[in-house]
């Protein structure tokens, strides 16, 4: 399913992206942002809120085509996304929310397995509108992963979850990154989360925003315990301040 001849899943070049404000003034949010993602890699976009991370993700997903630059992605690449809000269909059950996405992608695999992995078996027949935020986020992640994506885009999927649930879902994301050769792009403002999960960190900053610091993380994920992560957070935060 990967792009022919190359390991590159996605090539993105945003020379400039502007929004038109309500007063009809144009605001440039991104300039000279270039990014590529290979199959099997896990990249993380880190930056303060409002800096344009979600915009990049929407451009990467093909939802926003109004920008100067280029997006190259093979048409056979299956994309899935977890939005900042779960965006489930409230009038469908948990099971149907996942099934509708799977059917559209003609994904194979048992739905029960996904429900079990994300601890949703008891909620399977509940309407998505009746779920708590934590449950809805789990459904949104299960929905995205169940379609068997080549490229998985995650927009702050774990924000405002309690730490136990977030830790469990981080574990799931790690497992998926290890077990399948897919490209993952995660947007977050939580540096520790980024270090724990990804193998490449891109820091966004400035106005209009661009990449201010890039950092590879080659250490295997299973060796990133709490202390190592904390040390790296300190180190990188120091670098950012010196920047």
């Amino acid at each position: 399913m990967q792009a022919v001849g190359a390991d590159k899943l996605l090539e993105l070049r945003v020379d400039s992206k502007t929004y038109r404000s309500a007063k009809n003034a144009s605001i440039e949010v991104l300039r000279d942002f270039a990014f590529e993602l290979a199959a099997g890699s896990f990249a993380c976009l880190v930056g303060p809120s409002g800096c344009g991370k979600t915009t990049i993700l929407r451009i990467a997903a093909g939802l926003d085509r109004d920008f100067q630059g280029a997006r190259r992605i093979s048409p056979s690449t299956r994309v899935a996304m977890v939005f900042q809000e779960p965006h489930l269909l409230p009038w469908r059950t948990v099971e149907d929310n996942i099934r509708i996405a799977m059917d559209a992608a003609s994904a194979t695999g048992a739905i029960g397995e996904w429900l079990e992995r994300f601890d949703l078996v008891e909620q399977r027949r509940q309407y998505a509108g009746e779920l708590s935020l934590g449950q809805a986020r789990r459904v949104a992640i299960a929905r995205a992963i169940s379609v068997g994506p080549d490229l998985l885009l995650l927009d702050e999927p774990l924000v405002s979850l309690d730490e136990t649930v977030a830790a469990r879902l981080r574990g799931e994301l790690r497992a998926i990154a290890e077990s399948r050769k897919l490209g993952i792009l995660l947007v977050t403002h939580d540096l520790a989360e980024a270090i724990e999960l990804s193998d490449r960190l891109l820091f966004l900053g400035g106005k209009p925003a661009c990449v201010v610091l890039e950092r590879e993380l080659s250490m295997p994920r299973n060796r990133r315990d709490r202390r190592t992560v904390a040390a790296l957070v300190d180190e990188i935060a120091g670098q950012m301040n010196g920047h």
């Binding site: 939802l63 899935a80 996304m81 269909l89 992608a105 309407y127 379609v147």
Partner: protein, 245 residues
């Protein structure tokens, strides 16, 4: 229970009033009931009721399917809205009688004209409500549909229709009553059968018993449609909404 009680009070009042007045212009429930049974037995009542009902259904189906399509297009694309809006305002303000007369004059005194006239009266209302619903469609769910590559039919079934359902239910509910009222006028003016036709000829004979009998029979049918079809449909469509805990 309260409903039955209030209905019972009306019937009692009617009986008392009719007995007090004692005039052929206000027949009592017994006389009307006899007329109902007589015409039901001769199959005249079911025949005319069926004619009217079929016209209601045909006009309703036409108005609804065309109105939904037009309303969706107007809600979705600004250009279509700007082109269609003046026509919509004209149709909304056109008196039912004018459409009926024009349809009979231009199309002829036939079934097509009758159905077209009624459908044209209901159509703008469906357009307005569908347009409102379409404007309120969630762009976030549209994004979901796009990212997960939902097919056209899947989008309509899982994303668009559930969001339009409350608007369509409102159009359905207001539509069913408006439609049958206009169908009666259409029948009165230019059809040889149906409840409107019977009421028209009974009026010219001052036959109040028949007028009461047919009115009541048709109102009973519309009440049954409301409680056996419309309300269950509404309940079903909104069952996903969070139950009051």
């Amino acid at each position: 229970m309260a409903r039955l009680l209030s209905l019972g009070v009306v019937i009692v009042l009617w009986t008392v009033l009719a007995a007090a007045v004692d005039s052929p212009l206000l027949p009592g429930p017994v006389a009307v009931g006899e007329a109902l049974l007589r015409d039901a037995g001769s199959l005249a009542l079911p025949y005319h009721l069926a004619c009217t009902l079929l016209r209601v259904i045909a006009a309703f189906a036409v108005a609804f399917s065309l109105g939904m399509a037009a309303g969706f297009a107007m809600g979705k694309w600004g250009l279509v809205d700007r082109i269609g809006d003046p026509w919509l305002v004209i149709l909304l303000n056109l008196p039912a009688l004018v459409t009926i007369i024009l349809a009979y004059v231009w199309i002829g005194l036939n079934e097509t004209a009758a159905v077209v006239a009624v459908a044209l009266n209901k159509f703008p209302n469906v357009v307005v409500l569908t347009r409102e619903g379409t404007r309120a469609l969630s762009p976030e769910l549209e994004d979901v549909a796009q990212v997960f590559c939902l097919s056209g039919p899947a989008r309509i079934r899982h994303i668009v229709l559930p969001q339009l359902a409350p608007y369509l239910a409102a159009a359905f509910r207001s539509g069913i009553s408006i439609t049958w009222k206009i169908v009666l006028v259409v029948e009165l003016i230019g059809r040889p059968n149906g409840v409107g036709f019977v009421l028209g000829s009974a009026f010219s004979l001052f036959d109040m018993v028949t007028i009461f009998a047919y009115s009541i029979a048709f109102i009973a049918i519309m009440l049954a449609v409301e409680s056996l079809i419309v309300q269950p449909l509404e309940r079903n469509a909104s069952s996903w909404r969070r139950q009051a805990a």
